[in-house]
Structure formats: C-alpha cells, structure tokens
Subunit: 411 residues, 2 copies
C-alpha cells in the first residue's frame, strides 16, 4: 500500500459577514467531494485546539513529530530547503538584505526586493571574521530576492536569541538579545550584534552600493536576521517506517522539512510555490514518483498566499486547481493500492489574512477505510465525519498503519 | 473581538429513573437554543474523560492552565476570593470554627454556623506564636459564618499535608499528617497539630465561650483545617494574551481563581452566589464591563447548589434564569464584535448530588464560528456538535484564537 499526502497550505477557512460560506464551500470541487464521499473525513487540530500553527511546526506535526519536542526554530528548514546544508552545532537564521538610515531606522525591509547583485553582496559577508569572536565561523548565502541564510558555527552557541528584524519599517532595527538565561544565548546575541555592525560597514563601503546610489536604488546596507534555529535531532520517517518518500513542493521551507524527515525532493519546474503553480504538473510528477516511493508528499502553497492577500476568489480558484489535480490522481491510481489523503497545515481565513488555530478538514480514501456518510469536503462537513477530531501529529501514524508499515506496540 | 464567557457551575446532568430528561432538556431555554442554532456546540471533558473535577481545578482548566501542573491546593483561592492576600512562601488553609467534646470528637463542624463574635474569636488566634515553632508566622482571619482562613509562613513549609476536618460529625478530629516524604511536609503537619492544640486551649479559655455556654450555644472550641495550598506560579492570562479581563461572580472561590489569572472583580450586589442570585443584574454588569474589558467571565453558582440539594425543579428554574440573562446578552451585543461562550465547570447530576466527570455542553457564538446543524443546547445535543469533544484546557486558547489574541507557535 502506498500513499499520496496532499497538504494545501492555509486551506482551512471561516465564514465571515462578507462570505458566509468558506472558499471550500463555494469552490466547485467534485474530486474533493468524491474523496469525502468514498473515503472517511474528519478534522485535525494541527498542534492542539486553539494553538495557532506556524508552517514549520505544522509540517513537523503532520509528519508525526511533536513540535513541542522537535521544533528548534525556523532557520534550518529554510536553509535546507534552499539546498544549504545545516549541521549540528550551527545556529541558522533567515536573513534579509535591507535598507536602513544612519540611525538604523528601517527604510525598506527588503532593500527593494529585486537585487541584481545579491550574490555578490552575500559574498562580501560570507566567511567574515568578527574581531571580538575570531573563532566563530560565519556562512552567508543568498537564496532568492532579498533573502539569505546566515549560519554561525562555534562550540558555545544557542538558538535562543531574538529576531533583529522588527517586521515593520520606520522603526529601529532590534538589537539581538538572549531569550533564556543560558550564557551561550547571551554570547550568540553578542555575535549577532557584532555581525550586524560589521556587515553594515562592509556593505556601505561596497562599490555595488555606489552603483545603486547612482541609479537611485535603495542601498543594500544591512542584514536583518530572524528565525534562529538549530537542526532538530529526529529519526527520519523513512527510517522509522522503512519507506521511501518524496516531496513535491515549490517553496523552500517545505522542501527543508521534507528533507529533514528523510524525503527525497522531486523537482517540478512548474511548481512555483505561488498561485501560478501548475497543480497538474505536480500531480503527474507524483504519479511518476509513486513507482519508486511509498509516500508522496505534495505541498500546495497558493491557498495560503491567496488568504494572506485576503483574496477570496483567488483562493476559490486555487482550490479548483487542486481539485483538478485530485481528479487526475483518483482517476489514475488504483485505490486498492494507493491511499490518497488531503488536509491543510493550518487554517488561514481570507477574513483574517493570517494563520488561525481552527481545526482543518481531512479526507482519506483507499482500501480499508471505514467510510462515513459525508459526501462533501469542507470545514463544516468534515467536522461531522467518521474520523472525528484528531491532532496533526496523529495523521502520519494513521496513514502508516493503513499502509501496514507500523510496528506493533507490545506483543 | 471581545468575549463573554458564562460558566454555569455544575450545569451538566444525567438522566435518572425519576427524570429521564436532564434539567437542560426539560427547561425552557430559547436563548440557549439560539446560541446552539446560530453558533457551534460541542462537549468538554473539563480535566480528562472520567476525571471528576473540583470547582478549583475545573476553573484553572477552563482558564487554560493544566491543573495537573498548576493546582497546588484550594486554600489560596478561597483566601484571595475573600480579599485575603496570599504570598509565595505561605501555606494557606480553609478553616472552620467547630465544636468538639473533651475527647476531640466533633459535635458540630460549624459550631452552629452563625457565630456572632466570630471576628473576635479569630483575633484570639491571629499572630499566635507556637512554643515549638516560634519563627512560624500565623495569620488567622474570619470570613463568613463559621469559615476562616489560616495561613502559616516560614522558610520550610509544604502544602502536602492532610485535612484535619474529617467532614463528618461524631468522629475524632483527624491529626494532620504529611502526604509526601518531603521533610517540610512532616514539619508543616507538626505545626498544624500544634496550632490545633494551642488554639483549642485559647478558645476554651475565652470569655466569649463562657457567654455562649450561658446562652446554651455550641462552644467555639476548635479549628478544623483543610485544603492546604500554596499560590501557584502562573502567567496571568491577561499578560499571556495581553487582554483586560473581568470577573462577575458571587462566591469567593471563583473570584479567587479569577484574580489569580489576572481578572479584575466587578462587584454586583445582587450576585449572591446562591439560587437567589439576580442573573439579569449580572448580565447588565457584564455589558457595562465589556466597554473596558476584552473578556468577561460570568460565574453562576445556583445550578450547582440546586444539584447538591438534589432539587430538580430548582435547577430547571436556575437554567431558565440563566436563559433570561443570555437573552439579554445576545439581544444587546453585536455578535460581529463579541463572542458569547457558555459551558459548565463540571457536571453535577441532581440524581448524584455531587460532581461527576461527565463531559459538559459548550456553545460558542460570534463572528467566524463554523456553525453546525445542532439547534438545541443540552448534554445530548451538544455531543453531536461541530466542535466535537474537547478538553477544558482547550477552551481559552480557542476563544483567544477567535479573538485574534494568540501568538503563533512557529513561523
């Protein structure tokens, strides 16, 4: 038995005065409804009831790892997803090139977002030596647009430090401070603050910035770090369940979490991680990858993006694109040999434009499933389903049990 | 988004041979049914399935604090609720003035309940110095009727000691003993036993008791302690969620828990904490308090009192009084701006006359709620609701998420 697990980012939604029916209730999704009608449905509290999940903690939970135990910050997931290896002993940060004024007040958190020579700017900071911390090894790599990964490596570091990026413009850059009494956290914060000062001086002196000034472009004159993290020590699910697993995703974070739990990455050029993504290309890639894998994880980001933008029609359109992919999958696979499961990593109501803690709908179809009487796939319909109300961390064990990949607990 | 949370003490019930329908199923409650019809319903295991909650542990759970972690005994809640401050390092007890005979056998656990000079009796014991524990500071304060609060303060104390009050008459007063191997618990028990002996001698010598003997009144000649507790260290929910919250309750315990979690107390003279309470006065106070607060907690005690008395018609009457208050609330507030949630702190079936572990009904109405098809508010109807079966400790995070007051876990 194999399994295709589809996680639609931010799919769960709420009614609102403008839209009394949710995008799932409005969208025309005959394939999703077929999953519900011929399968079993339920709802998932991704972390726990009332707890708002981040995308990182949510995916750890959905892959079966309690994020309260295994989550050690976002940085490493982003790095791994961008093909930057992360090792134990390194503290990894997400970092933005930004524009600040002479008083460290943020003019643009993204230095204009499109930065033609971003790689060259990053090279100026890679392998930087800090005068007060000469033994600390610094790695600084550009990924896309204004985004970079900062890694620091040394014997005595901690990821329990604050974000320097205040997440808004017009205010001063936050100094980095320790989030615990751990002396290593205080030391790491001091390193970050020195890196900020040093990198500012180096960037400001760069001829690349003189060029930008001449062209009237925003200066790339600082680095804002956030999401400090260390790579969690976890048994990959591929080892835990002795399976081969593959990930089909557009955005780096999801590839990062997937790699950490042992999945291989299937590159689908048309999987963009945006609302433009080609869901059918993802579906075809999943069907091909199913030959050599037991578990295929398909991640769809567009539903979340539409919600963050408060764009109800776009979310409906994305759901209908997902439905087309599900149609391809259920019409192609033998449901006696392959399970299909679909859920979300968290709700992101269009009316809220951010992650909320509402439980999300789940449907599982395939051999052995105890079907229920629910025939539509939506937040409300699934709440009445035969699977009841479960936790995110329950999903992977349930799928592995249905696939007959689980070890018995006891004898 | 704001919230009014109504907790009806002991509201949950069971069918019995005499009453095959529960009080909620019998009572005429159109407003509660409207909550159910236009909102979402479910059931709550206040602590965990099958675990009988006390009122103190139940309220901790409903305010979002796992009582297995945070509950450290009842004494401090009663004291705080009676406006007696409780500090870290103090062990606090509920205490009764009682009448015992020369062999320490209990004649009346309440020394007649109505004790005209109770304050003066209490003054005799306040600041008492114990010969064998001269450094222990004793505070003894009368509250109402036969009830007092005993606090002991010293460097080396524990709340893990037994009740001296055996809760029945005709038996000897229990000696206090340690409930753990902790040496501090043994020491605290020894202090309590010495306090019992010393207070007995002092009370017996009092001219106030000579007066009572002349009037043929029961002597106030001993103090029965119970409910040893220390004040738990918890982050108030007002800080945790950055909200203002207020409590409208009649009985001291509930005010005590509410204050501990950061709520201000709204005094409503007609809120008596009995079946005589004026629920409409409480509702009006809630509406007024809503202007300056994000969360209003209304506690109604009468449902529990009626159950403890085994009085089915009185419980039905109380539910109809609650319904009148809910009518006032839903007809006054803008449900796009204010959530209303109603539940119980535990079941107290009239046929049992004590707390039971049955899950209790829950309804939530307001913007963003995924309504279900349930249209009546009762134990059985709510068991089929869209919220499913949750734990008491889940409620506050769910409400805070709906109010958009939650922090994200992860990024």
């Amino acid at each position: 038995m194999k399994c295709i697990l589809i996680i639609c980012d931010g799919m769960g939604d709420r009614p609102s005065p403008n839209y009394p029916r949710t995008p799932l209730e409005v969208a025309d999704t005959p394939a999703l409804d077929q999953l519900a009608a011929n399968g079993a449905v339920g709802i998932l509290d991704i972390i726990a009831p009332g707890i708002r999940p981040g995308s990182d903690t949510a995916h750890l939970a959905l892959f079966g790892y309690d994020p309260y135990i295994y989550y050690k910050g976002r940085g490493p997931f982003e790095a791994i997803g961008a093909n930057i290896p992360v090792n134990p002993g390194e503290v990894t940060f997400r970092a933005n090139f930004a524009t600040i004024d002479s008083k460290n007040v943020i003019v643009d958190r993204r230095a204009g977002r499109v930065i033609p020579h971003a790689d060259q700017f990053a090279e100026l900071l890679d392998n930087l030596t800090l005068p007060n911390f000469p033994d600390v090894k610094i790695t600084f790599v550009h990924t896309i647009e204004h985004r970079c990964v900062l890694k620091i490596q040394d014997a005595n570091l901690s990821h329990e430090v604050s974000d320097m990026d205040p997440d808004i413009t017009g205010v001063e850059v936050n100094p980095c401070y320790a989030l615990s009494d751990n002396p290593a956290a205080k030391r790491t914060a001091a390193i970050l603050n020195e890196f900020f000062d040093q990198s500012k001086q180096i960037l400001q002196k760069s001829p690349l910035n003189q060029e930008r000034a001449q062209k009237n472009l925003l200066l790339v004159n600082s680095v804002l770090s956030r999401g400090a993290g260390i790579v969690p020590e976890l048994e990959p699910l591929t080892l835990k369940y002795k399976i081969n697993a593959a990930c089909i995703a557009g955005a780096p974070l999801y590839k990062g979490v997937a790699q950490l739990v042992g999945m291989s990455i299937v590159d689908v050029p048309e999987a963009t991680g945006t609302v433009e993504t080609n869901t059918l290309a993802k579906g075809r890639a999943a069907l091909q990858s199913l030959v050599q894998n037991d578990l295929i994880f398909i991640h769809i980001k567009g539903t979340d993006s539409a919600s963050h933008d408060g764009n109800f029609p776009q979310k409906v359109m994305m759901l209908e694109k997902i439905d087309a992919m599900v149609r391809l999958l259920i019409d192609t696979v033998d449901l006696n040999e392959t399970l299909i499961a679909i859920t979300a990593d968290h709700a992101n109501p269009v009316s809220v434009q951010d992650h909320t803690a509402d439980p999300v709908p789940l449907a599982i179809i395939g051999k052995g499933i105890l079907t229920d009487e629910i025939t539509t796939f939506s937040e409300r319909a699934c709440a009445r389903g035969g699977l009841g109300r479960l936790r995110g961390v329950n999903l992977m064990p349930i799928l592995m049990d249905l696939m007959n990949k689980s070890k018995k607990f006891g004898a």
